[in-house]
Symmetry: C2
Subunit: 274 residues, 2 copies
Amino acid sequence: MARTIVVKVGGGEGISLEHAAESFADLVATGARCVLVHGGSHETNVLSVRLGIPPKTITSPSGNVSRRTDRATLDAFLMAYCGKVNKTLVAMLRARTVDAIGLSGIDGGLWHGERKAAIRSVEHGRTVIVRDDLSGRVTGVDAGLLNLLLDAGRIPVLTPPAITDDGVAINVDADRAAAATAAALGADELLLLSNVPGVLRDPADLASLIGQVGEGGIEDVRNAASGRMKNKVLAAEEALAGGVSRVVIGSARGTDAIELALAGAGTIFEEIWA
Amino acid sequence: MARTIVVKVGGGEGISLEHAAESFADLVATGARCVLVHGGSHETNVLSVRLGIPPKTITSPSGNVSRRTDRATLDAFLMAYCGKVNKTLVAMLRARTVDAIGLSGIDGGLWHGERKAAIRSVEHGRTVIVRDDLSGRVTGVDAGLLNLLLDAGRIPVLTPPAITDDGVAINVDADRAAAATAAALGADELLLLSNVPGVLRDPADLASLIGQVGEGGIEDVRNAASGRMKNKVLAAEEALAGGVSRVVIGSARGTDAIELALAGAGTIFEEIWA
């Protein structure tokens, strides 16, 4: 059977959808069984500002920063991720003869998840409890739906949000959703591509990239990662624990980003240490 | 085999998505093979105004009014139709245990179409040619994709835009797209539900509703329809010509709108005259 590869392309500032489509179309042409997962954080921020609801964040007591997702923000999220970014990407892929089909985690209950009941947030030095946030994490992936489409030659293009058992749309981390998807599909490889080239020991120094993560080296990578990168390392660990053979955290820049990542550009995690 | 029913619920002002979801969930529970098509014109208008790009229209020399769809408007269209309305409806249906899956006409090339090369528009009494409009009409429906999902027990929830062979997203009329979908599926019935109860001889008088459209009566209905209703009558004719047995143009109001339309509330077209 063809290799199964899940590619996540970030939605940060500076990521070109055209480049992502070009690079992913080349991968599809190799005959691999492929799924594309994308983000949309920058589009959501831009839209939120235009709508007069500037993005807000939640800072956990341990210092993790995430998007504050109230009802109005979730609507902007749906519009940016599921509307503009997903459909623009699908159209770009179809223009390149890829039989792409865009789905959110809501559709078909593809990504079911659990909403966080209460979130501790540090505001002006005090810890408060936020109870109405529409965010959570993916607890299950409907691999049957993905395989139904893949077996029919359709290429899924996936985006948050996910959905709870009660039918509530929730903001989930797209890197970890991609990891759960790769694990559910028994994927050979997961690529987590964004606007950084991999895990850097010093974010200001590209030469400090950690290349291969060998046996016992995961603690080292965890410690080197900061900010958003912590989440990608966690996603990589989850994918490996779920049976994915290889994860690369690499750059989404350029029209050959996927080819480069598959060739080993970035930070490579292999099951050797899992 | 179960009856196949395509339901289109309009996106005009005053249409409740909760009511539409409730009514459609009841239909799904009857065991019918169902597809839901929805609009999003009011959401698009609201969003466009908030984004500072107020909606513009094109008036044809014959007096038909349609949305002027430039690039910025298409983005707003994607956000409103494919993002907010589609995903909100799918979540509402899933909350009612319907295994709904939302797709735009772009996804999987479900609705392929042709872009209008040039549109004649009457502006300030002069006829001008608009060449950059991103609108067109559906020329083909991928029934294979819909049947793949329906056979797997998934309920498609469909929305414009459609997509050209070149991968360009185009604004298409959702009533006529629903008609093409019903014809492609060999549907038994098509319901076109909106914020009017059917074809009225006098838009101001609900008692002027045309009930049954008998043999030879189509000219009469065409003449009675004005504005947006002209398009619904055209959609009804196209569906019947495509082999659909019965079309009802009726009201989308209330949680039993679909049940009422199936029972004959509205303007009923039957193949007797096709």
